[in-house]
């Protein structure tokens, strides 16, 4: 009966007025109470009490947009509706990762106790995927401060270890035991960075001498092996936002000049032959030669791969050498298995010359997500690249889709 009973109330306004009353002044001036309820009575048909929402199970068509453009937090949007579903708390150069077990969102975070002064605090945070409540906070002895990287916090395939890249300034990896919820160990990783977990619960990383280092984590002291050199880390670097399929351990690496190198991760990674995006598109191979214009891959996150079909989506622009962060004029779609161009899509309107990040959903009916770094994230039809949704004020950073 209470919910629908007509009861007489005054609102909180009356309470806050109390000090004024107590001063004994009756000044005849209208009070807020008068407007809240001039009759002193309020009907409460159904008083709404505050509540807190929970998140649905993460969907393939959800895109996670990292902070940036003056906004904190990683916002989660439903690509089908364009609506925000929630936010994972993140700041500054914090890193984000999915949990292969699907229970947590992981954040590697660095804060100072007084923002621009005080004590530095490096932690690995685990947020529950449903309640978005902080369920675990594990101190770590440091981490690398850099934004917009997808491979500085990675989780091993079994979901039991978190690997957090560090440089102070010598290069290492801090390992967190996610079962015991403690810092586990530090692995020295001289000259290498950009970690890709393999299915053996170890990981590989790209190195400054053009090799791939592979770290075996079998309980004992980690063993590091290195591949033969296969790329040029200073003349034609591989974008460190290149893509891994965590289920198969297949890497799709893309270089500044437009070389794609497929790698099958494992105890001894199989590094495939490189092929040229431009040649696949019936054009002259990209070079890293001064004063030579060509179509080039570019952006902060220039490549996305739909793993089930092997389709590769690349942000492409016309540019010279060292134009690796230029926004895209076209999106190229290629078959990663046959190395053939499927389609070039010229970007028009507000998409033209703006997009710097791209991702794709991993379901059978994929959507492409792309953002301009100025707060706008777009949902594009994966066949036509037609704009389906625009999410404003979405953040400015890296895009993530869940690997189902």
């Amino acid at each position: 009966m209470l919910k629908s009973a007509k009861i007489r109330v005054v609102a909180i306004a009356a309470l806050v007025m109390a000090p004024g009353m107590a001063s004994g002044q009756t000044n005849g001036i209208a009070s807020p109470l008068q407007h809240v309820s001039p009759t002193g009575a309020v009907t409460i048909p159904q008083a709404e009490v505050p509540s807190v929402s929970t998140l649905d199970a993460v969907q393939p068509h959800w895109v996670f947009v990292n902070r940036g453009n003056g906004q904190d937090g990683t916002r989660i949007f439903d690509g089908d509706t364009g609506k925000m579903k929630g936010m994972v708390n993140m700041y500054g150069q914090d890193s984000f990762a999915f949990d292969p077990l699907g229970k947590n969102f992981y954040v590697a975070q660095t804060l100072w106790t007084k923002q621009d002064r005080g004590t530095r605090q490096d932690v690995l945070l685990a947020y529950d995927v449903t309640s978005l409540k902080l369920v675990s906070e594990i101190p770590i002895p440091g981490r690398m401060l850099i934004g917009n990287r997808t491979h500085n916090l990675v989780i091993t395939a079994d979901g039991k270890k978190a690997l957090i890249y560090n440089m102070q300034p010598s290069s290492s990896v801090n390992v967190v035991d996610l079962e015991k919820r403690t810092f586990d160990s530090k692995i020295e990783l001289p000259g290498c960075a950009t970690m890709f977990t393999n299915r053996l619960n170890g990981f590989s990383a790209l190195c400054s001498n053009g090799t791939l280092a592979t770290v075996a984590m079998n309980g004992g002291k980690p063993v590091i092996t290195r591949s033969a050199p296969f790329f040029n880390a200073t003349e034609d670097p591989i974008f460190d936002t290149s893509v891994i399929d965590p289920k198969t351990g297949k890497l799709t690496l893309v270089s500044y000049s437009g070389l794609i190198t497929p790698v099958e991760l494992g105890a001894a990674p199989k590094i495939g032959a490189s092929w040229s995006l431009q040649q696949a598109a019936f054009m002259r191979k990209g070079t890293y030669t001064a004063m030579d214009v060509n179509w080039m891959p570019g952006g902060r996150q220039p490549i996305a791969v739909h793993h089930a079909t092997g389709r590769i989506y690349v942000l492409m622009h016309m540019g010279e050498y060292w134009s690796e962060y230029e926004p895209a004029l076209e999106i190229w779609v290629l078959n990663g298995n046959t190395h053939k161009l499927i389609q070039r899509h010229a970007l028009g309107g507000e998409l033209k010359g703006k997009l710097i990040n791209i991702a794709v959903s991993q379901d059978a009916n994929p959507q492409v997500y792309a953002s301009d770094g100025s707060g706008n994230t777009f949902v594009l039809d994966a066949q036509t690249m037609e704009k389906k949704q625009k999410m404003e004020d979405s953040g400015g950073g890296i895009l993530y889709t869940v690997q189902p």
Binding site: V10, L15, Q34, P50
Partner: protein, 182 residues
């Protein structure tokens, strides 16, 4: 429009609340009520103390209420938002009176009196902030109906209404229906 004395209503209310406590005690208790009440506090008063016509009619006619709608609570012109300033929780993964996942609902609020265009009645709305997360950033609205300045805090929408929570970082604002003004 006839003026009524808030002080006379107030005095009786305060006396009832106060019992035999000191003035200081009353103030603290009122403060406490604001900060700690799990639900918007509603307190009975004698109707005999209140006079004057209901808060409808010409006083309710504001630019906002004359242009508001009741269909879409993710738009700034949704009728309940006549006094809202901030990001609508309905656009952030929450609802008109629901915080998005991981946020904490404030137990305090500022208030607005908004007209529902469906029944042309005036309702009391409690704007409770959801807190402890970075600013949601979606659907920023700054409606101004009856928005007062800081020295009348209960109807000021710039204040971070996260009192009583461990962390007062602002995420978004809700607009809960508390009652219908007769």
């Amino acid at each position: 429009m006839q003026k009524i004395s808030i002080d006379r209503i107030g005095e009786k209310l305060v006396r009832r609340l106060a019992g035999h406590t000191s003035r200081r005690g009353i103030l603290s208790r009122l403060g406490l009520a604001l900060a700690a009440a799990p639900v918007f506090p509603v307190l009975p008063v004698s109707r005999a103390n209140a006079q004057g016509k209901p808060d409808r009619g010409d006083r309710a006619r504001t630019h906002f209420t004359m242009n508001s709608q009741s269909k879409d609570d993710t738009k700034c012109d949704y009728w309940r938002y006549c006094g809202v300033d901030g990001n609508l929780c309905s656009c952030c993964g929450g609802g008109p009176h629901t915080c998005p996942a991981g946020a904490k609902a404030s137990t305090t609020s500022w208030v607005g009196t908004c007209v529902n265009p469906d029944d042309n009645k005036t309702y009391l709305i409690a704007y409770r902030d959801c807190c402890g997360k970075p600013g949601c950033g979606q659907c920023h609205c700054d409606n101004q109906d009856r928005d007062t300045q800081l020295y009348v805090p209960q109807t000021n929408n710039d204040i971070i209404w996260c009192f009583g929570l461990d962390n007062m970082q602002y995420h978004c604002s809700t607009a809960a229906l508390v009652g219908a003004v007769q």
